[in-house]
């Protein structure tokens, strides 16, 4: 069990990184990676939301949607709409909770908190866990690995972008194009992890 958890975390974080090899959550990845500080805030917020959303959606899927659940019918086609509902509500709740009890974190996360509602990585993880993972603990480990992988890659890209600012970039590459090139190179670098032999 212990080994399986570690394998799930590492493979989700590095080998099949959510942004760089599964191409989820690209919007936030490109949008809020211009400064390391904001990237950190976004990364931590995403970890928080993904963990909570996965836990809740796992239970909903198990109890209501699957054929073995309360309704005795296969309702898994409702996963997408039900999970979106839950994620949106969770983000709202989290916002209220942080505003009341941890205002400093609330201020630091700022606009990024509501933005997570539309981060497809969250829905992606919730759906993957619901469909592919029968064990709750390993599913949560996978969620932790995925969100951690998102955090790692967004902070890496932000630090590269901060360095890029002082460079002489050709006119046609200024702005988003050079960021896409950087993301591309990062994705290529991350393919190196696919040879990692674990488990």
């Amino acid at each position: 069990m212990g080994v399986e958890i570690i394998v799930a975390i590492i493979s989700a974080a590095l080998i099949s990184n959510v942004v760089l090899s599964r191409f989820l959550g690209i919007c936030a990845f490109l949008g809020v990676s211009n400064k390391v500080d904001t990237a950190k805030g976004m990364g931590v917020a995403v970890i928080f939301v993904i963990l909570m959303a996965t836990a809740v959606t796992y239970v909903i899927n198990r109890v209501f949607l699957e054929a073995t659940g309360v309704f005795k019918r296969d309702l898994t086609y409702l996963q997408t709409i039900a999970f979106i509902l839950v994620i949106a509500a969770l983000v709202q709740f989290l916002e209220m909770f942080l505003k009341k009890f941890i205002p400093s974190l609330y201020k630091a996360l700022g606009i990024y908190l509501p933005l997570i509602t539309t981060n497809c990585a969250v829905l992606g993880v919730a759906l993957t866990v619901a469909q592919d993972y029968s064990n709750f603990v390993i599913g949560m480990a996978y969620a932790l690995g995925t969100s951690g992988g998102f955090c790692i890659s967004i902070i890496l890209l932000a630090s590269i972008r901060e360095k890029l600012e002082n460079n002489d970039i050709p006119e046609s590459f200024k702005g988003k194009p050079i960021v896409l090139v950087m993301a591309c190179l990062m994705a290529i670098a991350f393919t190196g992890f696919s040879n990692l032999n674990i488990g």
Partner: protein, 263 residues
């Protein structure tokens, strides 16, 4: 697909939505944050540039500090007197005088005036150039480098590079101090608005080295200090420094300066 599936899926989604709605409604009551009415009112008066010129993190932070009485009502340098008046009406205290200030670049080392020690062809960024030998290409080690780091920092389009030196547009400047913080050479300072006579040099060399570096450099001769009847201008560490509270803008020092470095 039998009708049970359709009905149960409708019921399920409706229940989830209702439960979430009730849950969010209740938790918004439980987690309600009491907002001081004064904070919101003060915040409405502030300009909302979030420039940080007041020394707080932004307009929200300043509004909070003013409402708590930790900051003065005229703390906002952007809004000046009109905003201070509005805020004092909200807070019920006298506004006090807030003198309008503007940023000023203490350097006149234009392309014609200043001599270069070497030719610099790197990235046009003062922070980078200032870290090079001799603190930038200009021979003067305290000169405005003219690569426009302050121009980038300014959110109000109030500072521009003219002839190799940054110049502040007094009408547009709101004294937010963003350029002062951005300048690696520390040649920008706040001065009273509308003041005619200012020392346009920061060179801390004396005599010949200062003369060689720039045509309009202060050589610390002390002529201005001897001329001034108010004692408002003094030579401190080889550069003339004005005390704006004593100066009456008569312009005697400007006339007498042999290097024409006082405007």
């Amino acid at each position: 697909m039998d009708s049970v599936v359709i009905i149960s899926s409708i019921i399920l989604l409706a229940v989830i939505a209702i439960v979430i709605g009730i849950f969010l409604g209740i938790s918004s009551e439980i987690f309600k944050v009491e907002v001081d009415e004064k904070v919101a009112k003060v915040r409405e008066c502030l300009p909302g540039n979030n420039c940080g010129g007041c020394g707080f993190a932004g307009c929200d932070a300043l509004a909070e500090a003013i409402a708590k009485g930790e900051a003065a009502v005229n703390q906002c340098p952007v809004g000046g007197a009109p905003v201070a008046e509005k805020i004092s009406a909200v807070m019920g205290v006298a506004a006090g005088n807030s003198e309008k200030k503007v940023a000023f670049v203490r350097c006149n080392g234009t392309c014609v005036n200043a001599n270069n020690a070497y030719t610099y062809t790197g990235v046009k960024d003062c922070r980078l150039a200032a870290s090079l030998p001799n603190a930038g290409a200009k021979q003067c080690r305290n000169a405005c480098l003219g690569y426009g780091t302050c121009v980038e920092a300014c959110k109000f389009d109030a500072i521009h590079i003219v002839d190799g030196v940054a110049k502040v547009d007094e009408e547009k400047c709101v004294a937010c101090q963003a350029c002062i913080k951005a300048c690696p050479m520390k040649v920008i300072e706040l001065v009273p608005y509308g003041k005619k006579h200012l020392v346009e040099c920061s060179n801390k060399d004396k005599g010949k080295p200062a003369m060689d570096a720039c045509k309009v450099s202060c050589i610390a001769c002390g002529m201005c200090e001897r001329t001034c009847t108010k004692g408002a201008i003094k030579v401190q560490s080889n550069i003339a420094v004005m005390d704006y509270s004593l100066c009456d803008d008569c312009g005697a020092c400007s006339e007498k300066c042999p290097r024409k470095c006082i405007s």
